[in-house]
């Protein structure tokens, strides 16, 4: 009797564990896994319009064929794809360089920077504001012909003003990339600092004792050891970059001439404007998903820690 009681107590104790993780799995199953599977299914159907979202028929890979052949839809899709890659690159290279520089300064024991906390907060700040607000802010700042930036430059005596920023391809892309950079370099920096702080200080001390310069320490000790963190940053930024939607959508609506249209905006346009082509939107989402998976795998292969190979053999 006492034995069973004890066993029961143990069992109950185990069940509590499941209860604690249940909320995540329930939410994940309903709001993430199911929609993902539903998207995969919809991409194979003729679901155009709300009335066909549930009552549709499977038509195979025709939607993907449209995306990979020459027509108005695929042209828009691949243009958007190119824009996304361009704007992501324009934002990511400065972002990771800036974050690395700042992180190495903040963690450099030689420099002993003052007011680190304040600077970290200031640099991180843009990330707290919602993207929608920032998009509207920049839209107003650069508005034409009357807007703060135009007025300022005119009052400084610049000629050829006012300038129509959002009708110029590279200016529009540049502003979007700048916003992405400005919003996210603080976040990347914090993660880098965390990564660098996780390195055993005795390695730096050993380096210093051996007469390394700060630059050598950075390239030979810090950078190799934060490779997993770099990988994490690259992958999250890649996913975030490929799904870029809010800033271009609210600020430029893909203008001028679809040069700032992103894949996520293309999916939105197909799915929620016009005839509600849910099938094409889903197919584009699946293509995007596959591209992201391939890029992430390629990145992790590139940045894999060579010493970790034996571990993998052990099945870890």
């Amino acid at each position: 009797m006492q034995n069973t009681k004890k066993r029961n107590a143990n069992l109950n104790y185990d069940r509590y564990g499941y209860l604690f993780i249940a909320p995540f799995f329930i939410v994940f199953l309903i709001f993430q896994l199911y929609p993902i599977l539903f998207t995969f299914k919809t991409s194979l159907t003729d679901a155009v319009g709300w009335d066909k979202i549930l009552n549709n028929s499977i038509i195979g890979f025709d939607n993907f064929k449209i995306l990979f052949s020459a027509n108005d839809v695929s042209k828009l899709f691949w243009e958007s794809f190119g824009n996304t890659v361009i704007m992501w690159t324009m934002n990511f290279i400065p972002q990771i360089s800036m974050a690395l520089i700042l992180a190495s300064w903040f963690t450099d024991s030689h420099l002993h920077l003052r007011g680190q906390g304040a600077f970290k907060v200031l640099i991180y700040m843009p990330n707290i504001i919602t993207a929608a607000t920032i998009a509207m802010l920049f839209f107003s700042l650069f508005s034409y012909p009357i807007g703060p930036v135009n007025t300022l430059l005119q009052s400084l005596g610049m000629e050829n003003m006012p300038y129509e920023y959002f009708r110029k391809v590279w200016v529009s892309r540049g502003i979007i990339a700048f916003i992405q950079w400005w919003m996210w370099y603080g976040n990347t920096m914090i993660i880098m600092i965390a990564g660098i702080s996780g390195i055993n200080p005795s390695l730096f001390e050993a380096g210093m004792v051996d007469g390394c310069t700060s630059r050598q320490i950075f390239w030979k000790i810090t950078l190799p050891l934060i490779r997993p963190i770099l990988l994490y940053n690259l992958v999250t930024s890649l996913v975030g970059g490929f799904t870029m939607f809010d800033i271009p959508h609210l600020m430029t609506q893909g203008n001028p001439n679809n040069t700032t249209n992103t894949v996520a905006r293309f999916i939105y346009q197909q799915g929620f404007t016009g005839t509600y082509n849910f099938n094409m939107a889903s197919a584009a989402s699946v293509v995007l998903f596959i591209v992201i998976v391939i890029c992430s795998l390629a990145l992790s292969a590139m940045l894999k820690d060579r010493d970790a190979v034996p571990k993998k053999k052990r099945g870890l």
Binding site: V48, W50, D51, I53, L54, D72, V73, K75, L76, S140, S143, Y144, P145, I146, G147, E164, R167, Q253, G254, N255, P256, N257, N258, Q269, Q270, F272, T273, G274, T275, N277
Partner: protein
């Protein structure tokens, strides 16, 4: 629990049996996208109809939330208890629903052609199913357009002294452009004729003989090419302010920071856009006197505006009420009568519309009520220097047509601006390329519209 349920069921049966004998309670589900109709129902409708109970549901139109809810529910089970009996439709999506089988033929509810004749023509035409000509929606607000202009600038630069003279100066698009040139010369380029492409397009699209899509084919009416020419000339010769609606440039002309002569705005534009922006710091919650005081102190434009007829009669916006076809088909006579009564009350009931127009100053959708108000001397408006805006809107409403509206307008209008108008008038693309880009964008957005 079971006993309780049984009791409830039994009492419902009894109530049901009793109900057809005496004053029965009828519940109507009403869906809308603002609380405006709810307020009107509570204030005007329910006191007169104690037997009706209204379940009101609101979803905002932002991001298509309202239409998504309506669409999913109607697609899943249009006759379900939760589905709306009556729902309101905004200009952006009214045609999508009237041109579908989801909205009921109003004659099934007992309306007649004579009833519809009271409605203003544009509003009535927009509420019809384009496929069959059947009346499916009626409007309570009508939104005819006008041309609002700065009387002081018109007099200073053009010597125009009255709205009638101004109407002569903008009687068609050619004269409108001549006036713009004259204005440029007289003001030495300081005063612009209008803000930008959007202002012109909203009116110019009423020049079209056909809507965007006819028999599944995209139609670019010749009048739209004329509009592009007009806008290109205007852009190249600096006749307009090169701005867009709802931006700083647009408001700067309203509050007098910059000199812009004309705004093509409909009914709501007068009270909700122009007036609250006639001086920095004003807002919609202030009374006329407060805005006037602020405007007088800060060089605002209160009292400087006048209204006249635009180059082409147009309409911008509006709200329609329609009934859910599946619920009407399933309804008994009493419920049908209640649905009819609700729609009738807000769109055709002269006593109510007269009262509502007097209370709110809104421009209503009934011809007879509008005529009655105009006959009584209209609504002298201090913002317009005492001019009566009701009679101007009445003239515009009597001739504006809604025949070219299609369910594709919202998306295609935007694509026309982004893909054709701006690239062409800014000189980024030739006309051919701009039109080809526009066609490609339409073809990508709409399955089943041919663009050749």
């Amino acid at each position: 629990m079971k006993k309780f349920l049984a009791l409830v069921l039994a009492s419902m049966l009894i109530l049901g049996a009793v109900s057809f004998a005496a004053a029965e309670e009828i519940t109507l589900n009403v869906w809308s996208f603002t609380n405006e109709l709810e307020g009107m129902i509570t204030k005007y409708y329910l006191p007169k109809h104690p037997e009706v109970k209204i379940n009101f549901t609101i979803y905002p139109t932002d991001g298509g939330e309202y239409t998504n809810h309506v669409d999913t529910l109607l697609a899943a089970d249009a006759a379900s208890a939760d589905a709306p009996d009556v729902f309101t439709l905004e200009a952006a999506f009214v045609k999508k629903y009237t041109n579908s089988d989801w909205t009921a033929d109003l004659k099934e509810l007992g309306f007649t052609d004579e009833d519809f004749a009271i409605a203003l023509p544009a509003m009535r035409e927009i509420g019809q199913d384009t496929r069959t000509g059947v009346q499916k929606g009626l409007s309570w607000q009508s939104t005819p357009g006008s041309l609002m202009y700065r009387a002081d600038l018109a007099e200073k630069y053009l010597g125009v002294k009255s709205p009638e003279e101004m109407a002569e100066k903008v009687k068609d698009w050619d004269t409108f452009m001549e006036t713009a040139e004259e204005l440029k010369e007289a003001s030495n380029g300081a005063c612009k004729m209008f803000v930008g492409p959007g202002d012109i397009f909203n009116a110019a699209k009423y020049d079209r003989k056909q809507g965007w899509v006819v028999d599944g084919k995209l139609v670019i009416d010749d009048s739209l090419l004329d509009e592009l020419d007009l806008l290109k000339t205007s852009y190249e010769e600096d006749l307009d302010a090169k701005g867009t609606a709802w931006t700083e440039t647009w408001f700067a002309g309203m509050n007098g920071t910059n000199e812009i002569l004309c705004y093509l705005l409909p009914t709501w534009g007068l009270h909700y856009t122009l007036k609250p922006n006639c001086v920095p710091g004003a807002d919609g919650s202030m009374s006329d006197d407060e805005i006037k005081k602020l405007s007088d102190e800060n060089n605002g434009t209160f009292g400087l505006w006048r209204m006249t007829q635009p180059p082409v009669p147009y309409s911008w916006g509006g709200t329609w009420i329609a009934a859910n076809a599946a619920k009407v088909a399933a309804a008994d006579d009493a419920k049908k009568a209640a649905i009819k009564d609700l729609i009738n009350f807000f769109t055709l009931d002269e006593d109510f519309l007269y009262q509502y127009a007097k209370d709110s100053g809104d421009f209503v959708g009934s011809k007879t009520v509008v005529e009655k108000i105009v006959a009584e001397g209209g609504t002298p408006n201090p913002f317009l220097g005492g001019q009566d805006h009701y009679s101007i809107f009445a003239d515009a409403a009597a001739i504006a047509s809604g025949k070219t509206w299609t369910e594709y307008d919202e998306t295609i209008d935007r694509l026309w601006n982004d893909e054709a108008t701006l690239p062409y008038i800014r000189g980024e693309k030739t006309l051919e390329d701009a039109l080809a880009g526009f066609k490609a964008a339409v073809s990508a957005a709409f399955t089943g519209i041919s663009v050749d």
